[in-house]
Subunit: 361 residues, 3 copies
Amino acid sequence: MANTTKDPTFHKKSWFRPRVEWLLAFLPVAFVLEFTHGPEVPLFITAALSVLPLALLMGHATEELALRSGPQLGGFLNATFGNLAELIIAFFLIMEGEIEIVKASLTGAIIGNVLLILGLSFLVGGWKRQHQTFSLASAELHSSTLVIAAIALLMPALFFASGDVTEFRTEAVSVGVSVVLILTYAFSLFFSMKTHRSLFAHEATHEKPKWSLRRSILTLGIATVFVAVMSEFLVGALEHTTEELGLSHLFVGLIIVPLISNAAEHASAIILAAKDKMSVAIEIAIGSSVQIALFVAPVLVFLSLLTGNHLDLIFTGFEIAAVGFSAAILAFIALDGRSNWFEGLLLLSAYVIMAISFFFL
Amino acid sequence: MANTTKDPTFHKKSWFRPRVEWLLAFLPVAFVLEFTHGPEVPLFITAALSVLPLALLMGHATEELALRSGPQLGGFLNATFGNLAELIIAFFLIMEGEIEIVKASLTGAIIGNVLLILGLSFLVGGWKRQHQTFSLASAELHSSTLVIAAIALLMPALFFASGDVTEFRTEAVSVGVSVVLILTYAFSLFFSMKTHRSLFAHEATHEKPKWSLRRSILTLGIATVFVAVMSEFLVGALEHTTEELGLSHLFVGLIIVPLISNAAEHASAIILAAKDKMSVAIEIAIGSSVQIALFVAPVLVFLSLLTGNHLDLIFTGFEIAAVGFSAAILAFIALDGRSNWFEGLLLLSAYVIMAISFFFL
Amino acid sequence: MANTTKDPTFHKKSWFRPRVEWLLAFLPVAFVLEFTHGPEVPLFITAALSVLPLALLMGHATEELALRSGPQLGGFLNATFGNLAELIIAFFLIMEGEIEIVKASLTGAIIGNVLLILGLSFLVGGWKRQHQTFSLASAELHSSTLVIAAIALLMPALFFASGDVTEFRTEAVSVGVSVVLILTYAFSLFFSMKTHRSLFAHEATHEKPKWSLRRSILTLGIATVFVAVMSEFLVGALEHTTEELGLSHLFVGLIIVPLISNAAEHASAIILAAKDKMSVAIEIAIGSSVQIALFVAPVLVFLSLLTGNHLDLIFTGFEIAAVGFSAAILAFIALDGRSNWFEGLLLLSAYVIMAISFFFL
C-alpha cells in the first residue's frame, strides 16, 4: 500500500530529487572507510546517509514496474517492495544477533510513521492554511487496520507477561501469530486490489511509466544490492558506534534505524502534505505501518528461523505502550477528517518526549 | 438488552432451528455417562453440546414471555434472563471453587462478543456486499456503555496491582464496585425502557407471541433445570478434562466456557448480519457484553458471598489488556457506522491470535 | 483556556454567588484554629472550604481583567491564572515534601475534570432533555489536545518502568519533558489566540467589564494571598488529618485536593450545562485539564528545582491507567457530539468506582 513516489508531480519537480541523490556521494566514502578499517562512527553515518537515496531509488523503480504491470500485480509489487530497505536492514541485524534492536525497529517504524511523519505532514501542510481535510473513508479503513494489526502484533507479549515462559512456547506463539498475520496480509491485498479497489484509488492511476522495463529492473536490483551492502556496514559498525556516542540499544532501534529506512517515505508524505494532498500523505504513512505489522514482522520471524537467531514477537512493556498510544492518537485524528498545524505539533511533541525518554533509558 | 430470538423471521425459517435442537440428543448421553461414571472427556463434551439448544430454548421462551407481558416488563425479562445460562454455569464454577475460571469467563464473554461475534457478523454479512451500514446512534450508545462498564469492572484490579492487598480490602472493593455496577444497570434499564425507549426500538416489536403462557413458563423452567444439571456435569468433569486435553484453566475460562454459554446468541447475531440487519446484530453482541459487565458480574459477586468461595473482581493484567483492546477496536468500528468483510476478518484475526496466546500459556 | 466565570448570565443571577461567598465565613475560623493551635481536622476542613470562594473570586477577577485587556492579553490571562489556586496548593505541598500527593493531584484533576465535571454536566444538563448537542469541532480539538497532552505527561513513567532508573536520569527526563510541554503550551496559546481564534469564540465575547481595573487587581491580589495562606494551613494540617480520618495519601491527592482547587470550575460548568450551553461547559472541563498537563505540571517541575524537593514526572501505574481510561472515555463522548443523562451517570459511576478503589488502597 505504501510507496515512496506516488505523487505524479514528483517527476516534473527537479529541485527535490537531486538533493536526495547527492547523498549517493556517501556511498563510495562508506566503501573506503569499510575496507580501510577506518573509524566506525563515520562509517555508520556514511552508510546510513547512503541508504536514504538508495531507498528512494528502490521505491521509484518499484513504482515504475508497478505502472508497467497493471493495477493488480502493480499493487502487489508496491505493497511487497515498499518496505524492502527496512526488511534488509532488519535481516542483517538478525544475522548479527541484535534481536532486541530488530523488535525495537519494528515498533519504532510504527511510532515514527504515526507521530513523526503525520506530525510533520500536518505541521508543514497546515502552515498558512486554516485546516486541511482528507478522505475520511480511506483514513478510517487504514487506521482500523493499523490498530488491529498493532494489537495483533503486541498481544503475545501481554499474555506472556504473566505466564510460564519457555522457549518452545515463545516460538510456538511467535510462529502461530506470524502465520495469522501473513494470512491477514494476503486477505488485505485481496481486499484492496479486488473487492474494494475503489476505496484505494489514487490520483496517480492515470500516470504513464517513464522508465523502460529494463531500467526499472536494473535499478531495483542494483539499489537492493547496495542497500544490502550498506546494511552490512551499518550493522557491523553499530555496536561500536552506539557505545562511542553513548546511545542505548533501544534508542537506536526505536529512533535511528526507522529514520534511516523510512526517510524516503517521510519525505514524500511531507511533500504531498505541503501540496494539500493530505489523503495520499496519510495513506503512505499509515499504509507503511500496516505493512510493517502484517508483512515485515512475520516475514522476519520466518527468515529468522533459517538463522540461528530466532526472532520472537514478545515486545517489551514500553514498546506496547508506545504503539498503543500512537494508535489511540491516530484514532482521534483519523475519525475527525481534518487536520491543522497544531495537531501536527502535538504529534511531534509526543514523538520528541518519547525520544527524550528513550535517550536517557 | 440481548436475547437470542429477536429476529421475526426466526419462526418461519425451519432449516436452522432443527439443526440446533438435534443437539438435545446429547442430553441423555450426558446423563448416562454421568451415572455410569463413564469417561470424563466425553461427558464434558456431551454436556457442553447439550447446553447449546437449552440456551436457545431459554432465550426463545423468555422472548415469548416478553411479548406477552408488554414492552416494559418484557424488556426487563429479556435483559435479565438473556445471560441466564452463563449465570448458572458460573454459579456452579463458584460452588466448585474455580474462581479464576469464572473471572476468565466474564472477560472471555466480552472478548468473544466483540471479536468473535462481531467479526463473524461482519465477515458473513459483508461477503458479496460492498459494505453494510448500521444505526450509528444505537451503536455509539451501546459501545460507550460497554467501554465504561468494562472500565468500571476492571478498575479495581488496576488500583490493587500496586497496593497493599488484604482480604478485607479485596472484598470491600469488590462488593462496593458491584453495588455501583448493579445500580448503573438499574438506571440503564430505566434509560432504555423509559426515557430513551425510541433509541432501542427493534423490528421485532410488532411481533405476536406464538407460544401459550403455560408453554413459555414450562419451557423456561425445564430448560433452566436442565442447564443447571448440565452445568453440574460440566464443572464436575472440567478438572479432569482440561488435564487430559492439556488445556490451561485460562484457555477454558476465556475461550471454551463463553463459547458454550453464548453460542445461541452468536448464531442469531450472525444470521441477522447475513440478512443485512446489522443494527440488531450489533445490539445483540454489544448488549450481551454490557449485561455481563453490569449485571452478571455483580450478581455473581453477591451470590458468591452466600457460598464459602468469595468471587472478587480483581482481574489479571492480560484480562484487562484483552478487554481494553477489544473496547478500543469496538470504538473504531462503532464510530464509523459501516462495516465490510475485511474488518470482520481483522476482528477474527485478533481473536485467533488471543486464542493462540491463551492456548500456549 | 479555562476560567470560572465565562457565563455572561453569571453576573445577573444573584442566587448562586452569595451561597458560595458565604463560605468566606470559614476564613476567620481557619485563622483562629491555626493560631490557637486548635484541632487539625476542623482546621483542614475550614481551610478547604475557604479556598472555594477565594478560587471563584480569583477566577472572576481574572475574567474582569481579561475583558479590560483585549482578547489577546485577556486570553493569556485567563489561560495562565485559570488554575492558579491549584498551582499555589501544589507549591506548598512541594515545599512540605509531599511529592506523591502533588503528582496524584495532577492526575486527579484530569480525572475529576473528565469524569466528575463532565459526568455531572451531562447528568444535570440531560435531565428532562432527550439529548444535548455540542460543537463537535471545538470538542474534538480540545479532546485531542488533552489526549496527546496526557500521553506526553505520562510517557516518561512508562519508559522508566523497565529502565535502569537513576536520580540524574529521572531529573533529566522530567526537565526535558517539561520544556517540551511548556513550549507546546506556548504554541497552543498562539494557536487559540492567533491562527485559529474563531474555533474558540465564546458567547461571552461581547461582555462588558463590571469591575474597575483597580478593584480587579486588588481582588486578584488579595484572593491570591489568602489562597496561599489557606494552602499553608491545609498542607500543615494534612498529615494529621489523613491519619485521623484514615485516608490514604493517594485518596487525598487524587480526590480531595482536586475537589478543593477545582470546585469553582466544577460549579460553573454544571450551571452552564443546566442552561444547555454544553459547548462552553465542555470547554471549561477539558480546557482546564489541558492547562494542567501542559502548563501547571511543567511549571511545578521548574519551581520544585528551586526548593530542595524535586518534582519528577514519573507517575505510578494506576495513575497512568486512570488517565488513560479517562481519555478513552472522552474520545467516545467527544467524537459523538451529543450527550444524555445516562452517559453522565456512566461517567460518574466510573468516578465513584475509582474513588472506592483509591479509598481502600
